[in-house]
Amino acid sequence: MMAVRDVEGRGGEQALAGIRVVEFSSAMAGPWIGRFMAWAGAEVVRVESAKHPDVVRQYVPPWAPELGTQPQLSPWFTDWNAGKRFVALDLSRPRAIEIARRLVGICDLVIENYSGGVVDRLGLGYEDLRAVKPDLIMLSTSGYGRDGPCSGYVTWGPNIEALSGSSRASGFPHRECTVTQFAYPDGVSALHGLFVVLAALDYRTRSGRGQFIDVSQYEATVSSMGQPMLDFLANGEEPRPMGNRASAAAPHGCFRCAGDDAWCAISVGGEEEWRSLCRVAGRPDWAADERFASLSERIENQEALDQELTRWTSCLTAYEVMESLQGAGVAAGVVQNAEDLAWRDRQLADRGFLEQIEHHKKGRVIATGVPFGLGATPGRSGAAGSAIGQDNHYVFGELLGMSAAEIEESVRAGAIETG
């Protein structure tokens, strides 16, 4: 049974209570920042328009393609937007811009990742917004940043993996380009964006001053791969991709285990771990083998070492390999897939990492947890699967104090969309 954390009704203190965020955002790199803040207790309002739906809204369920586009059902929409409030404004109309500005006026932070320059053209740029909210913090995230010759170029996460040098520096030496299936620059740049807005909030608390922040996903990705980048900058040579190998550890890699596409990662740093591995594998002869007598010899003879080790691992399940090696103090981990994470990972289950949350269409869904480990102010994910404009009345009526008549009039004028 999958162990999940049922967060419904969990009360208690929220770390970011009292912080309000507006998002003009799409896909992941912007929305993921707000998702984390909502989890930690901030009130996050996302502005959308049915005329320009987020790419994640254009989701056709593979299990029922006949349903066509289902804007509330994407699992990624849950992962990037659970717990937010949703309003719908047609930003091509001046009245909608006026309402958006009023909304910014009662917020602390704006996050935007519309394509190049769109918010400025709409009259929702930092200078416009700071006129209504002088201590506003505004974060803009884009592929290349707000200036430079390529500013405004279109990118997605994997484009940045290729652009940043990661896809060439990573992977096995016989491959020219190795990318993840999870668009890691989106995650890496969103996490940098989250840190910088939190630091800006801390600065505002002490100084009373807001500011504009420009995140280039390209730059954030290069900054997070400082090790290979500095190797090139300092030593002048393109580092050769090493696959799973390490320059100061051996054996170091993914070893085939019994079963379909089953692998266990093993990292042996020191001599003690190496001897432990030989003992656990029942191969004292490896410890005595002069080809493997020291780290430098094990690195030198890595092909042979990997082959020997695979003879042992391939007879066991990946979990057996991990358990037996970890029992002897050797770093090892099953190469887990999505199903393993949900069903077989005792550690995630024991820590209640996965969250069961309310979904407006599906009833309940399981969401990936937020890995922030805040013991005294445990976060929680609010409802997922909101429709465009679902919270119009709460946000425009309760938060902005617009009267029912005023809302009605804005709907008739086409400024507020009703979904």
Partner: protein
Amino acid sequence: MGGQGAGDEKLTDIRPSALQGRRVLELADEKGAYCGKLFADMGADVIKIERPGGDASRRSPPLWRGEGGSGESLSFLYTNTSKRAVTLDLEKAEGRELFVRLVETADVVLETFPPGFLDELGLGYGHLRRTNPALVFSSITGFGQTGPQRGFRSSDLVAGALGGALYVTGEADDPPVTLAGQQYYTVAGLCAASATMIALLHASRVGRGQHVDVSAEETTVSLSHICGIGKWLDDGIVPRRMGTALFASVPSGTYTCRDGLVYLMVNRPAHWKALAEWIHEECGIEEVMDPMFEGPSSRRLPHRELLDIFIRDLTARHSVEEIYHQGQQRHIAFTPVNGLAEVARDPQLAARGYFVDLPHGNGVTLRFPGAPYRCGETPWRVSRRAPAVGEHNAEIYGGELGLSGIGLRELEERGII
């Protein structure tokens, strides 16, 4: 090149950085060093506390062996910019006393010891909160402070494996593979930095800190979630390695030009239309304009291989530069598959002055990746090169805690600092 020298406006800018006035005590190996760097380059006073003799991470490869190179660890030099460093033996009573005195002055303790290690020394969160109730105590470990595997050993590779990232990286015919440069530990540090900031904002409000328990396995699960649990529970399909294409985006992946590879990804209907028009114009392929290919990626999913043939026809006629810039003029997400040399001389990064040049003694300058974000008001900056072992012992123990020169020498002789 657009590197910004330490002599120009970056270091003469006297505006405060965002975290100026915050103090972080860092007892961290490679799992936490990037987290500490994020705080330090934002102006926090990050004091790296190492055992006498210095941490093992000072010797982690790759080493600086190029021209003028000092033989130091480059990953250490990179992840420890803007920090100060002291040495301290926490296993000795006097070392622990000094540590507690430092904790009184700190906002954050950042540590990466195995769970329970500091508790046994009487320096766990439960002890230190009595000294400093507003303290945020952040731990980064492989698996977290609780659970049946909390004592397991970790590495960047093991975190990537258990966290679901390796399984979905690389080619279907190859073993699972990791990313260069310890990305999974970097992300653990990034998550810890944000979690610590959230706890700090909360502590500022209520006067109470907390223990932040970050697991590198969990941060990797979070990073790789796009092909994780949510998707699998929705469609029942376990995501696998599939080369350079992405499972939900059609077309996507690498394509060969006359002189190298480009990466392409199409998600929005308008981007497909622009690409189809370009192929039609240049290659005269009529079928590419078929309306059945229009709309979101899911419409094109059954036709991935056919569309790849059309696109290869286009890219083979051009150089990487042509496809990149002409494609982007048409709003199509083409990017080059860069080596690090291309990144180092990219005109875009140069125009934004991304790289930072930092003096490293003897007239030698080392170039570093620069700011991951640009703050309009509070500059990001590298305020100093990575410190030498115990470089700030006298400044901090003497100047700030008021120990005498004799007292310092004595502590040094007895191996406490």
